[in-house]
């Protein structure tokens, strides 16, 4: 029973982080049609910024906030500085085929990932370092009994829960949220409604950057921080996004939690070295049973 509870709570906490990564990927995918492979590179970079600030005796929380703001800025910068010029019409000579138009931004995102890793290497020597958490990573005790959940798990679950509530309110209750959904679903009708779809798209990159930056801050107390630590998170997050349905924000979050439980239960009941193969098997199963994802919609091609 204890091991079941341990697996459950740690799965929830891990799943919460995967949900953030997956949400970030889906936001950009829906808005811009790009799988952003640089996403966790951006998160790695902003986590290094936070780490640097903490070393220079800033408080955890001010570093936390600055990292999130940098995440938003970096996301917006990637769009404005690279993706928008790459996909704009002026370059149509270069991008005259649809396959090039969709491939080039993806390759560009791999390029950004490389640049960010190199920069992290130059600025911070690429050494693995710890990253603090605001709460102790010990199990919570009642009297002398250890509960199956740690204070840090609770912290992660709480922060992500709050983020998801705010995101839901933003998307369903605000005009800007409506504009973002509409831009992703039908850019032409949205533009004809007088909405600057380009700016809305940049906002999507910024929110995605913030979500992944938050994921970086929440995962590194456990994994430590190096230029490569967040790579695995991208793979898991991507799997979660595919499982949940690449086009659905709710699906991406659901996918994140499902992946969290899969990984955590394999870890507890099997062995940590089987986690990776379990992810792949799960992805294949999901693709066989429901290729459009749990909440994804089948693509309708209009003629």
């Amino acid at each position: 029973m204890t091991s079941f509870l341990t697996a459950f709570f740690s799965g929830t906490a891990q799943g919460a982080i995967y949900a953030l990564v997956s949400l970030g990927l889906v936001l950009v995918w829906r808005g811009a049609g790009i799988v952003n492979f640089a996403q966790m590179g951006q998160a790695m970079f902003t986590t290094y910024i936070a780490s640097q600030l903490i070393q220079h005796s800033y408080s955890y929380w001010s570093a936390f906030v600055i990292a999130l703001i940098s995440g938003a800025a970096l996301g917006a910068l990637v769009d404005l500085g690279l993706m928008r010029p790459l996909t704009s019409r002026k370059n149509s000579q270069l991008l005259n085929s649809q396959s090039m138009r969709t491939t080039i931004p993806v390759i560009a995102s791999l390029g950004i990932l490389g640049v960010l890793k190199a920069l992290a290497g130059i600025f911070w020597a690429g050494e693995e370092r710890g990253f603090p958490s605001p709460v102790a990573p010990n199990a919570i005790k009642i009297g002398s009994t250890n509960l199956a959940i740690t204070g840090f798990d609770l912290f992660v679950i709480g922060v992500v829960f709050l983020t998801l509530v705010l995101t839901t309110i933003f998307f369903t209750k605000t005009g800007m949220g409506l504009a973002m959904r509409a831009s992703a679903l039908n850019p032409e009708v949205t533009r004809l409604s007088g909405i600057k779809v380009g700016s809305v798209r940049t906002l999507g990159w910024a929110i995605s950057g913030t979500a992944s930056s938050l994921a970086g801050l929440l995962v590194t107390p456990r994994t430590n921080l190096s230029p490569n630590t967040l790579d695995l998170l991208l793979i898991v997050g991507f799997t979660a996004a595919v499982v949940g349905g690449l086009t659905s924000l709710a699906g991406s979050v659901l996918g994140g939690f499902i992946l969290g439980y899969v990984i955590s239960f394999v870890n507890v009941y099997s062995a940590p070295e089987n986690v990776f193969i379990a992810i792949l098997i799960f992805l294949l199963l999901a693709l066989f049973i429901r290729p459009q994802g749990i909440l994804g919609s089948k693509e309708v091609r209009r003629v």
């Binding site: 005009g175 409506l178 959904r181 509409a182 679903l185 032409e188 009708v189 004809l192 007088g194």
Partner: protein
Amino acid sequence: MLAISNLVTEFASVKALNGVSFQAKPGLITTVIGANGAGKSTLLRTISGLERASSGSIKWFDQELTHKSVESIVRSGIAQVPEGHAVISQLSVGENIELGGLFRKRIARGDLAIATKEVYELFPILYERRNEAAGSLSGGERQMLAISRALVSRPKLLLLDEPSLGLAPLISAQIISIVNDLCRATGLTVLLVEQNANTALAVADHGILLALGKVVADLPAKEMIADSSLRAAYLGY
């Protein structure tokens, strides 16, 4: 006044519009008719900025529109209802309408509420179904929704692209008559593109006949209806 002169729009090397010139007077319905492929939709899409003109000019009163973005053209009072009952089917009916007025939320919140109320009065069925997904509407209701989305932006010029396409004759007549009433009551300028020439000419003040990207006739609607040789030559009936 909408004044179009020598408008050319090219796709690759094909000239979809090949030197189109005409004027549409304010407060009236001007209809653009012509066979499939005549360039009718391209004309509307060029006016609204969705396609770029290679040369020529589009003037709405004093403003030159050819180099403006779609968003700023909409914001200057020109709303397009695109072909195919274009609504966003995954959003609710209410959200589609809200979307049309979103850019006015900060600048004219009070009037936006009035405009929203007005379109619901114009199309009560949309009010009844405001919380349902737009995708669940019938073709005619979708067209009503697409028009409503445009109307809440309080346009001065309404560009309608084939509103009767794919609709039962009774329903398309109903929609065209609502647009007609709206134009007469509010002084809205309407540019109506139609393949169904009879329906369009019945309500229009003026007719423009397009063939292969060129204007071949520019006549008061009544005269165009009467000219059977013109219709035989270009519309095939």
